[in-house]
């Protein structure tokens, strides 16, 4: 497999103590990888180091097997899409798009053709003569994406590009980006703090926290098998319960689960709401009472008060909650539970 971008032992510390330590990451050609984490986890630091806007303290960055550390941003084979679009306000859309191509000394006819093509790709044909101020946020961001695409970068960097857009537009832009990626086969590094966004567009997700990598895996794997408590907390909804290991089984009151990680002593147990099973009072399980039922479209969220653990949330098919009412006694069981060392 071709490695397009390789980051090796990247470290960058700011005076404030924030930054990233010992980040290593390989990105394959044509892959869309997402750096995901809460704000201040260092994901943007990694991205800006790749783009050349930050100089790492140590480590190595290779693009197509060539070190780019000594190359200034204007010479790097990367292109970046910024959070605030960063279009040039005094230039028309055409000039914004042509600026980089002119620097590359492209012929006028070729340039016109490329710009027409890319505007077609982002579905904004005919907007060449407009100024950025006359476009909506979503349109501006599309132009910013187009500007980066035109440069045919070896790696396309996207720094929370859709976070300033409203929810509906954000969904559309994600789909479009995915489409563009499949059409162009570009290698992309995408930074976001939105786990839903990361799950929906990525080939692989890099979960970051406090300047280091918690897990690198496919969205599916991250969702099903989060490696750390942090990854489990950060991605998707999760219930957390206290349990204990005894006789190589994870025990929560009267329920027992396998212990594949060979943990000992107290453990934190993470359970996805869709893995919570609600049964009648006679079955085995944790006893609780239904607190609230919320219909969320095709499914319902049922919260159950289970003492001494607190509220457990569960997702149930809508037609199965018809017979439930708040205050009803139920037994709670889990089809799947992940155990982590207790903190």
């Amino acid at each position: 497999m071709d490695i397009q971008l390789s980051i090796q032992n990247l470290t960058k510390r700011y005076k404030t103590g924030d930054g990233v330590t010992d980040i290593s990451l390989d990105v394959r050609k044509g892959e869309l990888i997402t750096l995901l984490g809460p704000s201040g986890c260092g994901k943007t630091t990694v991205l800006r180091s790749i783009g050349g806007f930050l100089e790492p303290d140590s480590g190595e960055i290779l693009i197509e097997n060539k070190s780019v550390l000594k190359t200034p941003p204007e010479k790097r084979p990367t292109a970046m899409v910024f959070q605030s679009y960063n279009l040039w306000p005094h230039m028309t859309v055409y000039d914004n798009l042509a600026f980089g191509l002119k620097i590359r000394k492209m012929k006028k006819a070729e340039m016109d053709f490329a710009i027409t093509e890319v505007l077609k790709l982002i579905r904004m044909s005919g907007s060449e003569k407009k100024h950025p101020g006359e476009l909506s946020g979503g349109q501006q961001q599309r132009i910013a994406v187009a500007r980066a695409l035109l440069l045919k970068p070896a790696v396309l960097l996207l720094d929370e590009p859709f976070s300033a857009l409203d929810a509906k537009l954000r969904h559309e832009m994600r789909e479009e980006l995915r489409e563009i990626q499949s059409k162009t086969g570009l290698t992309m590094v995408f930074v976001t703090h939105d786990q839903e966004e990361a799950l929906s567009i990525s080939d692989r997700i890099v979960v970051m926290n406090h300047g280091h990598i918690e897990q690198i895996a496919s969205p599916q794997e991250i969702y099903d098998e989060p490696k750390s408590l942090f990854a489990a907390q950060f991605i998707g909804k999760m219930n957390f319960l206290k349990g204990v290991v005894s006789a190589d089984q994870v025990i929560i009151q009267n329920l027992a689960f396998p212990n594949p990680k060979r943990l000992t002593g107290e453990v934190s147990i993470a359970i996805r709401p869709e893995n919570v099973i609600l049964q009648d009072g006679e079955e085995t399980g944790l006893s609780g009472s239904v607190k609230q039922i919320m219909i969320l479209g095709h499914y319902a969220e049922v919260s159950v008060d289970v003492q001494p653990f607190g509220i457990i949330r569960s997702f149930q098919p809508r037609d199965q909650v018809k017979h439930l009412h708040s205050g009803q006694k139920v037994k709670v069981n889990f089809s799947k539970a992940l155990a982590f060392p207790a903190v």
Partner: protein, 281 residues
């Protein structure tokens, strides 16, 4: 009275004070001076004063001298201030912080004092000459009572404010759009000519207008350290009015100076409204 016409009267009342002030201290004097300037020696009205202004050898050289000093000074002020402002905007060092603290100082020094200071420094036996003498430089070029002296004084008086204007315009250019330009491969000069200059061009024009108006009508420095002939128009005007007591000719000269400023004003207003229209569409 209907509500609409009441509002109309209120509007007029609100505008009236400022209009009256403008009328009494600008429009009326200009009109009166214009009338005065058209009066000839025999009390009739003709263009004799203006003809004298453009045919008399000394007056003509005064006008050319004033325009030369003004244009060179404005050019130098803009060049120095812009360089200073750009340097302060894109660097962060001890020197920058030092310049930031110091460059406004000339604004707080009274003009007369600064001018005498310049005479003491650059004069024939001034301390600059004495200092250079220690290093074997025996003759200094002539600064005082010369065009160079006035230009140096103009730099002193105009650089601080111009730099302040340009610095604030440059601060308004966000780092992010410079970053995106670097990202597409633009080098330093391309970023300067394609982004920074066009984005600060309007303020540059404002600064040029202010400097032009200030310098063409300046009096203190040209009076104290300018040559006896040719003179800047301000000094010449004072002489014609105060020494020769030729009020008609002084008025003609004043009106002509006002006319030069209004040409600059015309270009300024034209550029500003063009920008507004561009935004509106």
């Amino acid at each position: 009275m209907s509500k609409q016409s009441k509002m109309g009267v209120l509007g007029l009342l609100l505008v009236l004070p400022s209009f009256l002030v403008l009328f009494v201290i600008v429009i009326l004097p200009v009109a009166l001076s214009f009338k005065e300037s058209l009066t000839n020696d025999s009390g009739g009205y003709d263009l004799s004063n203006y003809i004298y202004l453009f045919t008399d050898k000394l007056m003509r050289s005064n006008i050319i001298f004033t325009l030369t000093v003004t244009i060179i000074s404005v050019g130098l002020v803009l060049a120095v201030s812009y360089a200073l402002a750009v340097y302060m905007r894109f660097n962060d060092s001890a020197i920058v912080r030092w310049i930031q603290k110091m460059y406004m100082i000339p604004i707080f020094i009274p003009g007369v004092i600064a001018t005498y200071g310049l005479i003491r420094m650059l004069g024939n036996r001034g301390w600059a000459a004495q200092f250079l003498y220690q290093f074997g430089v025996e003759s200094m070029p002539r600064f005082i009572f010369d065009m160079k002296g006035i230009i140096i004084a103009n730099l002193w008086f105009n650089i601080p404010f111009t730099t302040m204007l340009l610095a604030s315009a440059l601060t308004a250019v966000p780092n992010s759009i410079i970053e995106s330009a670097k990202d597409v491969g633009a080098g330093m000069w391309r970023i300067f000519f394609n982004l920074i200059l066009p984005l600060t061009y309007k303020t540059l024009l404002v600064a040029a207008t202010f400097a032009f108006m200030g310098i063409i009508g300046s009096f203190t420095a040209p009076f104290l350290l300018g040559p006896n002939a040719p003179q800047m128009l301000g000094v010449s005007m004072q002489q014609i009015f105060g020494v020769f007591q030729d009020r008609q000719l002084a008025s003609a000269l004043a009106f002509f100076t006002f006319f030069l400023c209004s040409i600059m004003g015309y270009f300024y207003i034209r550029e500003m409204t063009k920008e507004e229209r561009g935004k509106a569409t």
